[in-house]
Symmetry: C2
Subunit: 388 residues, 2 copies
């Protein structure tokens, strides 16, 4: 697939062959990236210099430059939404983004960005601060969802796109779509906000607060100054396991795991060793995550989700979205405990208040917050029909 | 109020005045206790010697010794369900247990036991192992809900009661009522199982597994060998905060906390310091808990809840309860995320399968798993009417 680049879009030249090999083993190919405007002023008052956004793309930009789709991710994925020529490993939305799929790369130029503040090629707390030559760590300024959204738009502009066909995202990405809409209300023809929220609920805040505390209280966190080969793995493991629990639903797990014991004999281990299959699943999820995600970046993005409040833009959700000219699809899942469907309903109500053409799809998927990754037939149908 | 004691029921004689004063400040008066049969053989194969159960009581045993109610607690409370002459501080069910209340101590002799394996006077991992003179710590044998139930019954027998009027419990206590019923199916006239489960769900197991891991990975846990003045506080804090989240409901917190900021100015602290009121609430809950609860005891009781499966007794829930001669009240709460109402429904179905007279109360309380502590009017009405 052809990839459109501007002169600033290039592979990071600093990586040695050995570090590239190491990353390859984690399916972390050095990503393409663009430079953000310098200085890049942040929503809560900070400033970044020489900041970059990593992205991947599929399909081709047409001559009118009006077939681009910008894709925002959730908290943890990289920009690798689907396989590419340079990284053929399956992406996190492999069954949604591709030729003939719901987001059809035969027709659209699809760009997925790694969120500002993350650690998969975009500038974040684990990146080198050009002012010091050291990692930012806690010197990184506060990142807001508004910044993630604007950095995504700047990525598209760097790729030669001013006017977007669609902006799409789920979870944190669903919040990012709203932050995009309020800041650039006329920059896209269509918006799809999936399993997002106009403002984090106290329940979600409480859960993320505990996840952060698990990291902050890990002695290996070292007030954020941990060495890259000695990160706060225990804290990150606990945080990820808790996340994994809240991304699914009790009903799904009842059907999927029941009370099956874990594979293999564990009764000779500690009395508190994992015993049930569901514990083995959490183990594998946490193991994978702690290998690739930076703890400080996690803290920054987790915080950004808590602090996001669409009503800061004009006093109400409806006021924040008053200038939007796009058609809108809002998708929520009834079994989502982390981003309750009432939150997606309130997004739809806010758009409708402004007479914005809005479809609210209330899906009965069983897989909770993660349904967009799992219940492909329902999401395929909604997205395909909306983009048709 | 008169208290019935057998010769073995006495206050622990070893406590010095200063330790008693210290405990008074935590509302942890030295409790009454009884000796369990020695040896006390455990359900999963272990054995305890010189084990004791702490209890509190209200009301008087009548001459026929047929007005006794046995009360099992959840995971964390002591036997202090209501104020007593020796400890006038409010108990955890102060508005349910008392003269004229739903569990009317003018008519019943009510005994609440501290669960076997806990740390408020009953024998548990923090107790002295008589074989070594040291705390048991991880040498404590595996405790099952069946053992908690049998230790409760043995407490009543030590107090001179063979035949009970009622056995009542919520949460772990609701499980204990079922474990009592299957082991002593004819020992009580009435059973009330509140917000319990016939077998932990994979969702609840996953949550408790993460709580345990937070403790196990705290370096201060020291493989269970921590000094009593240096417990794994960080792990216990995270565990308790997560518990607190799952004991309530997202809807209640939305109404109660919304996105209110925490009282006091925190913006000069770490960027990840608590910011929202809901985080302050979690803090206060965790702070209180870590002062009084032993980490190893927490691990043992948490494990016991995961492993409980009523179907071990005969192959099915119904078979386990086939011999029960009591009338039964099962209460569940629709907003309970930890012990889903489907679990209480399955308990009721099992009793009904045996033609046991059963009322299943499905309450619309907003406060989730903890509703029995908060939504007093609804619980008062159900319990009062059932016991009338």
């Amino acid at each position: 697939m052809a990839q459109i680049r501007n002169p600033e879009a290039h592979r990071n030249a600093g990586a040695s062959a050995s570090s590239r090999n190491r990353r390859d083993r984690e399916h972390m190919i050095e990503p393409l990236s663009v430079a953000l405007p310098d200085p890049f002023l942040l929503y809560r008052g900070g400033v970044l210099h020489q900041a970059r956004i990593a992205y991947e793309s599929w399909g081709e930009l047409n001559a009118k430059r009006d077939n681009a789709i910008l894709l925002f991710t959730g908290l943890s994925p990289p920009a690798h939404a689907a396989a590419t020529a340079s990284d053929p490993s399956p992406g996190w939305w492999e069954r949604i983004v591709g030729p003939g799929l719901a987001i059809d790369t035969r027709h659209y130029f699809v760009v997925c960005v790694n969120s500002l503040g993350s650690c998969f090629g975009s500038t974040g707390a684990a990146s080198i601060n050009p002012a010091t030559g050291e990692r930012y760590r806690l010197d990184f300024p506060e990142v807001a969802v508004e910044d993630i959204a604007r950095a995504g738009y700047e990525t598209m502009r760097a790729l030669g796109v001013e006017q977007l066909d669609s902006v799409i995202g789920a979870s944190l990405g669903g919040m990012s779509v709203l932050a995009f809409a309020t800041q650039f209300p006329k920059a896209a023809k269509r918006l799809i906000s999936i399993s997002g929220s106009p403002a984090a609920s106290p329940f979600a805040i409480a859960l993320r607060s505990v996840q952060r505390e698990a990291i902050l209280r890990d002695p290996d966190w070292q007030a954020g100054q941990y060495a890259s080969d000695n990160p706060p793995r225990s804290g990150l493991r606990v945080a990820r396991k808790l996340g994994t629990i809240t991304y699914r639903s009790a009903a799904e797990w009842r059907a999927r795991f029941g009370r099956e014991p874990i594979a293999g004999n564990t009764h000779t281990m500690s009395p508190f060793a994992p015993h049930f299959a569901v514990e083995g699943y959490l183990e594998s999820q946490a193991e994978r995550f702690t290998r690739v995600f930076d703890a400080n970046c996690y803290l920054y993005l987790s915080n950004a989700m808590d602090r996001f409040d669409l009503a800061e833009h004009g006093g109400s959700y409806a006021a924040a979205l008053a200038e939007v000219t796009a058609r809108v699809l809002v998708i929520g899942v009834e079994s989502d405990m982390l981003f309750a469907i009432a939150e997606q309903a309130s997004i739809a109500v806010a758009f409708e208040h402004n007479a914005t053409p809005t479809r609210f799809a209330r899906l009965p998927s069983l897989e909770g917050h993660d349904s967009f990754l799992v219940d492909i037939p329902r999401f395929d149908a909604e997205i395909r029909s909306f983009l048709a």
